[in-house]
């Protein structure tokens, strides 16, 4: 099914995209709402001489990923919010040992056991570290099933390019929904992994996968090197979509599923003659500050909409840096804000802008 369009569930699309990107190892643990993905991999990977292991816990799964990645493989794991919390230790170690891997989080509501319904409340965890230590990883937030396919494939290349974990941050709805998808033919760059532990195989020096630096000077040096790498990632891996910024007086900001809903709202507002635009961060780390520079000469206010109590809005405020008011609307608990609700919020902000209040 080369470029053929097929109808597939989001979670299964991630699996197929991973296989097509050369991923041959998957380590996972059951949790709703991402169970279709491990099930797909359990069936699909043996067909391509790959390996699927259902681990005893998310903690074990991420450490299997560490071992497999350190051994030179393209490898992936997936989970949903509570399970991603358990993986944080491993993600920190992956970052510290500079190991590439793709981690999928199909977010559900929290805190605690929360709900199995969709959410965007792991934004802080995904973009501000999550695990311990000074590290960053590229976090990609798809908004459609097609983007799940494209960004999952990209995630593997980004991971290998920088020897760093990459997260695909979706939500429960995205994983469960079906949309047409065409898997793009792509040539992945060849990555030479001469650092991998394969057994010395004639090498004079053994390879070591490690994040321990007991000497403060060496530890500092390691952190400086990592930081320089993160700055390169921040420069090269910014992705976003903008709509109607040219004359937008109010700019909606949303990512993932919320951006779809917000986009519908923007279209309806435009039909009413309102000058409304949209910024959709696709990479939520690095955050697309430059999109806000495009909007700011015209924009009189921003309205951020999330399925959380306000997480990405902090990055929006940092990007806007006091140059315009930033408003927020969010719902939690698995409740998806309806277009009608968002429209009401937008109209209120718009009225303030028109009245010169904003």
């Amino acid at each position: 099914m080369a470029n053929e369009t097929v109808l597939m569930k989001g979670n299964e699309v991630i699996g197929e995209a991973a296989v097509r990107a050369g991923c041959r190892y998957f380590f996972g643990y059951p949790i709703t709402p991402q169970n279709e993905l491990p099930a797909y991999m359990a069936k699909r990977l043996p067909e391509v001489q790959g390996v699927f292991v259902q681990a005893e816990s998310e903690t074990a799964a991420i450490n299997m990923v560490y071992g497999a990645s350190g051994a030179g493989a393209r490898v992936m794991t997936s989970s949903s919010s509570p399970g991603i919390s358990l993986k944080q230790e491993g993600i920190s170690y992956l970052a510290g040992a500079e190991l590439p891997a793709v981690i999928v989080n199909m977010m559900r509501g929290g805190p605690g056991l929360g709900t199995i319904q969709p959410s965007q409340s792991d934004y802080f965890q995904a973009t501000k570290g999550g695990g311990h230590g000074d590290y960053n990883m590229v976090v990609l937030a798809p908004a459609s099933v097609q983007e799940l396919a494209d960004l999952t494939m990209d995630a593997f290349d980004i991971a290998d390019k920088y020897r760093n974990p990459v997260m695909v941050l979706g939500d429960g709805v995205l994983g469960q929904m079906m949309e047409p998808v065409a898997f793009k033919e792509r040539q992945s760059a060849e990555f030479v992994k001469d650092w991998a532990t394969t057994g010395k195989q004639g090498r004079s020096k053994p390879n070591l996968i490690n994040s321990l630096y007991l000497d403060p000077e060496k530890s500092a040096e390691h952190n400086e090197e990592l930081h320089a790498k993160y700055m390169t990632m921040a420069k090269n891996e910014v992705r976003y979509e903008v709509k109607n910024l040219e004359d937008a007086e109010v700019v909606l900001v949303a990512y993932g599923m919320m951006a779809r809903i917000t986009s519908s709202v923007m279209n309806k507002a435009r039909e009413k003659g309102m000058k409304v635009g949209l910024i959709r961060p696709i990479s939520v780390w690095p955050f697309p500050d430059e999109a806000f520079e495009m909007a700011l000469p015209q924009a009189k206010a921003f309205l951020t909409v999330e399925m959380s109590k306000g997480q990405m809005v902090e990055d929006v405020r940092l990007a806007v840096n006091g140059r315009a008011p930033v408003y927020f609307y969010g719902r939690t608990g698995g409740v998806i804000p309806s277009p009608q609700e968002v429209m009401e919020q937008l109209e209120a902000v718009y009225a303030k802008v028109q009245g010169g209040e904003a």
Binding site: Y25, N63, M64, G67, G70, A71, G199, K200, L208, I209
Partner: protein
């Protein structure tokens, strides 16, 4: 001059950080000798854990991965699944394997992962300064059991070898001791067997080694070796608990 003794080829020249009288060095050497004798240095991948042996990768001249606390068997699983033809071993202490990493150890055994675990049981947390381990004996004083381990509060020592031997996925499970030459010889034989079984693809193998910690036990090296025999071995009997040929020995 005739050379009658040498460092195993698969070990580095690095001077170890282990305390005087600690038996980690002996365990390292036995693993090194085994790798030499089986001629597998070029395809061996070790997994270091967290604890006193955290720096094990500095002492072996083979590829290594350093794992987070308790997760070495999961890391080893990832490596072995990618390179089934390689020889993968973990080197873990009792805090790492029998406390924080119990699940990983048991499930690697349950799956019959074709890896080898070298498990150092010295009845205490060494690197963090002498806290109670799950393997600490009843009555044994540690910084967290200042009056000695009491069953009523802290339960009784965990016998990992006996537990793991009950699992169908485990191929070879043994416990030996490093407190004197005859026992070291037996321990060596068990370590070599476990690697051989892995080479033959028999499945999960583990050798538990009773070891000393003079520093945190507050004993001299000689007293420590004595205590292994007089106290530890009463709680932790030596021998093979399971072999591929005979199954579980009850």
């Amino acid at each position: 001059m005739k050379q009658i003794f040498a460092k195993p080829q698969s070990m580095t020249d690095k001077v170890s950080h282990y305390c005087p009288g600690c038996t980690h060095g002996i365990a390292h050497r036995l693993v090194g000798e085994t790798i030499d004798e089986l001629g597998i240095a070029d395809r061996t991948i070790g997994v270091a854990s967290v604890g006193c042996s955290v720096l094990a990768y500095e002492y072996f001249d083979v590829d290594f991965q350093q794992a987070s606390h308790g997760r070495a068997p999961a890391v080893a699983t990832g490596i072995k699944r990618v390179h089934p033809e390689s020889i993968v071993f973990t080197y873990q202490g009792d805090g790492d394997l029998a406390s924080i990493g119990t699940a990983e150890a048991i499930h690697a055994a349950m799956r019959g992962e074709n890896i080898t675990i070298i498990f150092i049981n010295n009845a205490i947390y060494g690197m963090t300064g002498g806290q109670m381990a799950p393997t600490t004996l009843l009555g044994q004083q540690t910084t967290t059991t200042p009056e000695g381990r009491r069953f009523e509060e802290m339960g009784a020592p965990i016998r990992m070898a006996e537990m793991l031997a009950t699992l169908d996925g485990a191929a070879y499970v043994a416990r030996f001791s490093l407190h004197d030459i005859p026992n070291i010889t037996k321990a060596k034989r068990a370590i070599k067997k476990s690697f051989q079984y892995q080479l033959e693809g028999k499945g999960f193998t583990i050798v538990e080694l009773l070891s000393t910690c003079p520093t945190n036990w507050g004993m001299s090296p000689n007293e420590s070796l004595e205590w292994v025999q007089t106290d530890m071995m009463k709680v932790y009997p030596l021998g093979e608990f399971k072999t591929p040929e005979e199954g579980e020995k009850k």
